[in-house]
Symmetry: C4
Subunit: 217 residues, 4 copies
């Protein structure tokens, strides 16, 4: 009974070895929700209101960065829950790795603003897509590390997932690394196509998985 042991004795109990992930998940959700809502602060109204729709149209890179990043963080939120639905215990190292992941996700509003500024200015689009893609790639890598760590010997997993399921999740997380990495690489040469490849990752992960049984099935 690892969880009970972690809280039974001092000084072990004081800085507990392991604990249930409830608070970690709540804290992560708050960071995701705030990061996603801060994105709008980067969109600034046009200066000239006499040609308002023209001005609003020129803001397309901001809308692009806003919507791709919003949906991407939404995606990250969903996958974070998928992962922690099956993680029953968290230890210090897992908490630290999760903090690194949050630090990367909370950095995305900056990467998004570099992206939209580059397309606004017409310079540095390639570099900006690489910078933006690399920030998302880091999140994908951290997902893989966290899941691999939690799976090792099933130490931190609950009984809601069997080994085949855990392998299936790991495979899906590995696909993310390749996909986002490919989009970043493409962006180094064709920036808008790179953004499109990265954005295409979103519906691929939202749409039902072939063969997945749905609640209505």
């Amino acid at each position: 009974m690892p969880r009970q042991e972690g809280r039974s004795a001092a000084p072990s109990a004081a800085f507990g070895g392991t604990r249930s992930p409830g608070r970690l998940v709540a804290f992560s959700d708050a960071v995701f929700a705030i990061a996603v809502t801060l994105l709008v602060l980067d969109i600034r109204p046009p200066e000239d209101f006499r040609r308002l729709f023209h001005g609003l149209g020129l803001l397309w890179p901001s809308y692009l960065a806003y919507s791709v990043t919003f949906l991407m963080i939404g995606q990250i939120w969903v996958n974070h829950h998928v992962m922690f639905d099956h993680i029953r215990l968290v230890d210090r190292l897992l908490m630290f790795l999760n903090t690194l992941l949050l630090m990367d996700v909370a950095f995305l509003p900056f990467a998004a603003s570099v992206l939209s500024d580059a397309f606004h200015s017409g310079d540095g689009e390639r570099g900006a897509v690489v910078f933006y893609g690399a920030t998302i790639e880091l999140a994908a890598i951290l997902f893989n590390i966290i899941w691999a760590y939690a799976r090792r010997g099933r130490r931190l997993l609950g009984s809601t997932i069997d080994d085949a399921g855990a392998r299936f999740v790991a495979r899906r997380f590995r696909v993310a690394i390749v996909w986002i990495g490919a989009g970043t690489l493409v962006g180094a040469f064709l920036p808008l196509l790179g953004v499109a490849v990265i954005a295409a990752f979103i519906p691929a992960y939202w749409l039902p998985i072939r063969g997945e049984r749905t609640g209505a099935g």
Copy 2:
């Protein structure tokens, strides 16, 4: 028993078909609360403090945009809860539709700032009201889509609402589309009147419904 089936087997369990809406509601609430509180960042103190009240008075378009948008998001929050009080299961598509709704609501601080800037500058008021109204209209449309999807064959609804109740909610959501649409249209010609029509939607939805039995009844 869709919910149990969705968590029973791998790989289905891994990226679960359906789940209860608790976390989706908590995440949505957080986005609503943040969006509503970020609105104030758009109100900037006047430059000249020697005639402070004069300067504060000139900020009326900011106060108008702040209060209408705040109460509108409050309204959206209430209606979101009404909807998810009766939705017992969420699947991927519902989660995606809800993310689109959040993306639209989190965009409202920008639309509000376009609105107040237009009235400050005295140019582009018509276009700004149309832009602002269209953002709210999109939220109304997404409410209708989400509810229609959840009702279809009562697949995702719980037993807390019967078919008559579900139809009643649907009718109310349809009224929102017409009302906000009308306000947006009016705003294309008479901007302040358009804002007034949109704002009038708020008390209409807050005030008790004729014939509604209250807890004290």
Copy 3:
């Protein structure tokens, strides 16, 4: 059994007459937490880093506005909980009144920034204290209205408080109106003294009440 009745039948169930305050409290807490944390965005680093401590010292009006407003919203948070510990049911009107209260509290970062800017510029301090005090006074008035509405015929109160207790809370809320009103009035003539009177309200409400039995008693 008002609560059950409110959920039993359609269309009443659809937009329910009354409900428990859990979500309203959670939403309010989120707005308080965000408003309080946004305050820091108004403090800007000095321009000249060669005389850093001199520059940091000149920011005293920002620190003053930050700390008084932070502690005041902390106070409002505590009192909001005191109130909703005893409110067992919320209806539409109560939800609307609470939204007005949140709209006022979320406006405080702006009022605080008017206050600090006035003291920075050396102009308009009197007006700024009046504006700031009036924003807090409105919160105090809304507290009184909400409590009076909830108490009327004990319609919305739970059994955790008796009539004497409800009167006691009402009296305390009335004191807030007088106190903040007095500070605002003083500020119209002696701005810093006005801020001091308003700030003195905070320890008065944090310190234990004479005669209050504590958990250790």
Copy 4:
């Protein structure tokens, strides 16, 4: 039965003597999550996009301030939970002390922005590290005061920790005062080394404690 007594009678029940810490912890978590996510707003994209990576490289002080402060607040969040895992009752004074702690943590984004601006400008680095370190030191001091107050006569502690455990936590919190104080002092002479000492505090508190039994043990 202190908790029941605190809610039993009026007027004591009205402004209750003690209560369980659930809401205080949730409110604190929200402030930590918001403060940590606001940090990114201080990083501004470079002006010149023709040499984007050069410009992004020049932002290193912003990345440094972002990551050290993010991880430090993450650390504070973990330690706050360790503390309140064992605090079963909170009274007014504890709530006030906790509000002071939150006020200090919510101030950290400003201190971080002073730090990065100083390194950007090349002036005032020493003063900025002292200012930044002092803000963290104040948090460390408040942790010690809150824990000492909660431990006194075990008035507010639960049975999840024995006296040895409580002493162990107190010792760990005292180390924080010395460590951060030393880093601040070093920073008064060698600013980057001071930041390094402060940053080194983070892994020291994240890494497992020697002799700590983990859940897998």
